[in-house]
């Protein structure tokens, strides 16, 4: 699963470099697919519940699940890139929002706060804590900046399926929901809006936009709960090996 997530994040790096004015979202999808296949993986979203592409690309007021098409990226856009792949039967899933050229101060602040909210949530991924603590950490951080978090979409367990139990909302009271135990793998993905939290899904059946058409950002990483705390699966195992063996003994 670490390998799948590594491939996803490497692909996101490539996509971020390609997100320049004039690139079409379909071209971004093609890059994503090539990059994933070159790494020996398969796209996880293509065909998932009928989703027609490798990449979810969500521009500005689009929150998530934007379908690639002929739209050209423009200077000042912020673009949510969400990607998943399958390797050896295990799934990787990650997302980030990137700037096209120079973007507004407001957009930069939103992206920074959303990314920080993700890491606040990741920090809550420890044994003895609960799924509700993750959402609480995310919500508290996002709302402290005056932003709102989307309720209609949630993070999820991940493993041999893209979406597994439990659901991981980005809001709610601490101390509730499932207990976190070592070995659980969760995709944590705050979706944060400048305006109100409500979203609506466009007629294509996928693209979710903010109802008030305010800007929205989305960051996601897949994380394993270890006895010592979170392990971001796209990064090397962060704790000493000896320590790990001692804890499992």
């Amino acid at each position: 699963m670490a390998r799948a997530n590594r491939i996803v994040v490497d692909t996101l790096d490539a996509l971020e470099a390609a997100a320049v004015p004039g690139t079409t979202t379909r071209e971004m999808d093609r890059i994503a697919r090539e990059c994933i296949e070159k790494a020996g993986a398969r796209p996880a979203f293509l065909g998932y519940r009928g989703y027609p592409a490798t990449l979810c690309i969500s521009v500005n007021e689009e929150v998530v699940h934007g379908i690639p098409g002929s739209r050209k990226l423009r200077e000042g856009d912020i673009v949510g890139l969400d990607l998943g792949c399958i390797v050896d039967g295990f799934f990787g899933d990650a997302a980030r929002t990137v700037a096209v050229g120079r973007v507004s101060e407001e957009a930069l602040r939103l992206m920074k706060a959303t990314r920080e909210a993700l890491f606040a949530g990741i920090d809550a991924c420890r044994p003895t804590r609960r799924v509700g603590d993750i959402g609480h950490a995310v919500q508290t951080h996002a709302e402290s900046h005056g932003y709102s978090v989307v309720r209609e979409f949630v993070g999820h367990g991940i493993g041999t399926s893209l979406h597994e139990e439990p659901q991981v909302p980005n809001y709610g009271p601490p101390g509730r929901r499932e207990r976190l135990v070592p070995g659980m793998c969760l995709a944590i993905e705050p979706m944060v809006n400048v305006g109100r939290p409500e979203v609506e899904v466009l007629a294509d059946g996928w693209t979710a936009v903010t109802r008030d058409r305010s800007l929205s950002a989305h960051f996601e990483l897949s994380v394993a709960v270890t006895p010592f705390g979170p392990w971001i699966l796209s990064e090397p195992y962060p704790y000493a090996q000896g320590e790990a063996e001692a804890a499992h003994a």
């Binding site: 996880a44 979203f45 998932y48 989703y51 979810c56 998530v64 699940h65 969400d82 998943g84 899933d93 997302a95 309720r151 209609e152 979409f153 949630v154 993070g155 999820h156 893209l162 979406h163 139990e165 659901q167 909302p169 993905e189 979706m191 989305h218 996601e220």
Partner: protein
Amino acid sequence: MPETAGRPRTGGASAALEVEGTVREQLPNALYRVELATEARASVTAHLGGGSALLRLRPGDAVVVELAPYDAGRGRIVRRR
């Protein structure tokens, strides 16, 4: 890719079994005893589910019942037939 919020359905309406039957008796609390047109589980206690077309069901009316996945004796009347 975020998941759409809400508990995933395990069983539930999509998996429920629909069976044809006939109302035999009106019970208290808007329940009905429905005789099924199948050999097994000859009759079930069923409540009303659905629109106003189901109001004033009378013994003898032909209906379609969804059977509860975990309780063989109960069901939900989903429409007239």
